[in-house]
Symmetry: C2
Subunit: 528 residues, 2 copies
């Protein structure tokens, strides 16, 4: 699906190619393969829109075998011109143009109204992601299975590592490494960290494109601590880390579905200080001309200074904010950016306490976050054969659990809402969320009841307060069993009594005495 | 108790005066009283320590009646020299010295180890404050009563406004205003905002000194929204706000017990933007040469960007973090500075939901914070005679409630601890706090039980994990009834089982089936 124009070093003008908005335009040049082309050749290109004069500077990269590439993601419809510069004259001053045409894709995910997301084409995006750290490093059969699993569950984001993972539950050697092997001995292998292995990156790119075809954002983890001397990727010199970031960004910034996650459990990476992480974050922001979403993830309850301007959202590991109703609002209120909780423990059967939630509890924590306007990432770690299993969280593969089956239904409910959610009466009513547009969600979580007296808070976030005489219809949603049952009666709010509005007849809603119920309460017009 | 050296404009050297460390040294000069001495005369002084060469630049101020003052708080023992500069030659180049001698006071409160406080002399300070916004604007009888109340309750911090408060529950006109009255009509009064009223500031200073004599920090609120056109102090031009900050800091920075609170409910002050607040915060930090503690307070769940370097601690209004056990740790983990929750609702009998906690609930919320290493401010609002009462939170006066009586006991428990508190196994065990030094607190809150199986987490914050074979004695503390009951048996930890260590005999502690119990669990040596 990629438009690739092969150009020789004796550049010749070609017909103006068409590129769909937010897809990839790629220029290929042939150049020297001697010396160290990864560091010796500095190829750059400038793209500018002929009407708006928007200008994007991109870096080219060496792709092996004397082949140099420049990639570009056109962000605005219409004609773009480009010109290269290079310290090798043969690759410099190459120019041309392309025509950006409407796309069938939504484009990259952007921030919307401080706490939410949307695609570049303004369509809404509610992140419901999962975790498969090492899936791209598994054999092809497992990778295919992983993609089917992700598709079946309708996840729209996956956390995944660039570097392979060496950890109790995942110790396979990958077929490909990001750096060329220098020496292979019985004890292991050493790498040439002054070069990259293009085959590895071709493989990575193929997986990211496969995710894109399924509408899934690749939340790409650039560093992680699960190595500890095995390959040494967690303790590279800073110069190598920075070269790796530049190379990765040169290759991948033109992929619309890439997010940058600087690290998983950054504080467990013993070779890097917080100042190092800040340097690396800034390097990503400099190297990526499109401003892809960017964050970093710590160990349990370790909060990076997420207020850093360069970070677009949080990527927190902490279950505390979603263990009680309404509490994730503390994060929503503190951070002036979207709040992602990328680990709140996972569904699974491990003995480790981070991997032994029931499916119900996993889904419940996702809902506890959603009601507060924050986003909770799923993960599944079921071990069937001790140490020799395709536990999804580590390797991908087939699902074993129960919560993933509820994700399509969860997304359907969220995507039906007229706007983003937040607590209607923050810190005072912990289970009523509002979209501000005559639509509320009330979530009961584990509390089972046979009736609920209809009542809503007068306060409605920063929207106008709820008025007496407002009529509502109600649907009883069983988030676990995935049923939506319209309630037969229309409720009507009376006068405000101690900050709340009850039905004028103080009617109660009959409930089925099951857990994980959600009420969708929608304003109806008088005509009904 | 103030050392005041009266100097005429024809300056003469006096004998080197002695000033106790962190107390006030004051120079007085006579100068012009014509024109506008508040703005026309720019008097400054530099103090430098003759050995360490520490240098402190202070601003002088006009105190009315042709009298100019320079105040200085010596921070280091030994000899300090000083020299003035002024745009009025008669007040310039005045020089002299003083000798700083040991003090009987602790000095200003400073940050200790990121999340805690200590006095300048390194003695520990656990803030347990209360709220009396308008107390200094009340008649003398009430003020005297306020000071006795504060003393009886052993509070060591009080939130109080510089400007008088005009609010439903507090509408008295004060005797003194910070600005001179320009015109007084039947409809109200107008002020000359280009000048200050020294009598008002003399009065304010006397109250701050009276607090200091009781060991109470004055958490001074510089701006607030409770005015709304009545006097106009909430909507002064920025130039006046900045002049007021300079004047206040020139007068008060030498008071060791002053904290700066830029605002109460800053977001309700409609005439100021967040950028204005940032400007004002920076102005305070510039005008105060000693770096007194500095924060700002918002309305419910409105979190200022407390990560600003210029803010030394948070001053949050939100009850959400202390409604469940352990949840205040979210704030502790996010902010890299001490966390103060300066409003979590108050004890009282108001119809407003922020002022109707029981005494038990008020104290309970204070303890919920303390266990997580954060500090919760008390407040009391009992209304007896509708609209004509000395509700403490607004005006000071006598206590009416119940929680204040427990503050001396609460402080005694906290001050007995060998170190600061934090959750031992954060986000996983919500009721066990550790000091890291063989001392734990386990708080049961509202949960009543007749036994508790002795067990502690293996994880002990960032300290070495708890070891099997450790012996502990236990005291059962009733935080409400203020009793401490030693438990007869010594417990001994066995092997780690699923992250916890139980007594080797799996013994249970008998408990009295009452709420608000706290266990103090202290390591004992084998000899016992």
């Amino acid at each position: 699906m990629l438009l690739s124009i092969l150009l020789t070093t004796t550049f010749t003008a070609s017909a103006q190619p068409e590129v769909a908005q937010w897809k990839r335009f790629e220029l290929t040049f042939t150049g020297p393969s001697s010396g160290n082309p990864f560091t010796d050749v500095e190829l750059k290109a400038t793209f500018w829109h002929t009407n708006t004069h928007d200008t994007i500077h991109v870096e080219g990269f060496y792709d092996g075998d004397g082949c140099y590439k420049v990639r570009f993601m056109p962000t605005i419809l219409g004609r773009w011109n480009y010109r290269t510069t290079c310290n090798i004259p043969a690759l410099s001053e190459k120019s041309g143009s392309l025509h950006c045409i409407p796309s069938d894709q939504h484009g990259p995910v952007r921030i919307k109204e401080t706490h939410c997301f949307q695609y570049a084409d303004s369509s809404s995006y509610w992140p419901i992601g999962t975790t498969a750290y090492g899936w791209i490093h598994m054999p092809e059969g497992i990778r295919r299975q992983t993609l089917s699993s992700l598709e079946a569950a309708h996840f729209n984001k996956v956390r995944m590592c660039v570097f392979p993972k060496y950890y109790t539950l995942c110790k396979e050697e990958p077929e490909l490494y990001p750096f060329p092997i220098k020496e292979e001995t019985g004890k292991g292998r050493t790498f040439d960290f002054s070069r990259f292995n293009p085959a590895f990156f071709h493989h990575l790119e193929k997986q990211i494109d496969a995710l894109n075809a399924l509408g899934i954002e690749a939340d790409l983890i650039l560093f992680h601590p699960y190595d500890k001397g095995h390959w040494g990727f967690d303790s590279l010199p800073m110069e190598t880390n920075l070269a790796y970031i530049r190379y990765l960004c040169a290759r991948l910034s033109s992929f619309s579905n890439v997010w940058w996650s600087l690290a998983n459990e950054y504080d467990y990476v013993k070779a890097k200080t917080e100042d190092d992480w800040i340097t690396l974050i800034k390097a990503v922001r400099t190297a990526d001309p499109y401003g892809h979403l960017c964050s970093i993830h710590g160990s349990t309850a370790t909060y990076f200074p997420y207020w850093m301007d360069e970070l677009t959202h949080t990527s927190i590991q902490d279950e505390a904010p979603v263990e009680e109703a309404g509490r994730a609002s503390i994060l929503y209120n503190i951070y002036r950016k979207p709040v992602l909780l990328d680990e709140v423990c996972y569904e699974g059967n491990l003995s480790s306490r981070w991997g032994r939630l029931s499916g119900q509890e996993m889904l419940h924590r996702i809902w506890q976050g959603l009601l507060c306007g924050v986003y909770v990432t799923h993960g599944e770690c079921y071990m069937r054969h001790e140490g020799n299993d395709t536990i999804f969280w580590a390797k991908g593969g087939p699902w074993r659990g129960e919560s993933w089956k509820r994700i399509p239904f969860t997304r359907k409910i969220m995507e039906s809402l007229p706007g983003s959610l937040q607590m209607a009466d923050v810190s005072r009513d912990v289970r009523t969320a509002t979209t501000g547009e005559g639509c509320y969600l009330v979530y009961f979580g584990k509390e089972m009841r046979d009736t609920w007296m209809f009542n809503l808070p007068a306060k409605n976030a920063s929207y106008p307060p709820l008025k007496p005489g407002t009529k509502f219809r109600i649907e009883i949603i069983d988030t676990w069993n995935m049923t939506i049952t319209p309630y037969p009666d229309i409720m009507e709010t009376g006068a405000v009594s101690d900050y709340r509005l009850y039905d004028i007849h103080h009617r109660k809603i009959r409930l089925p005495l099951t857990p994980y119920l959600l009420l969708r309460i929608t304003k109806v017009e008088d005509a009904l």
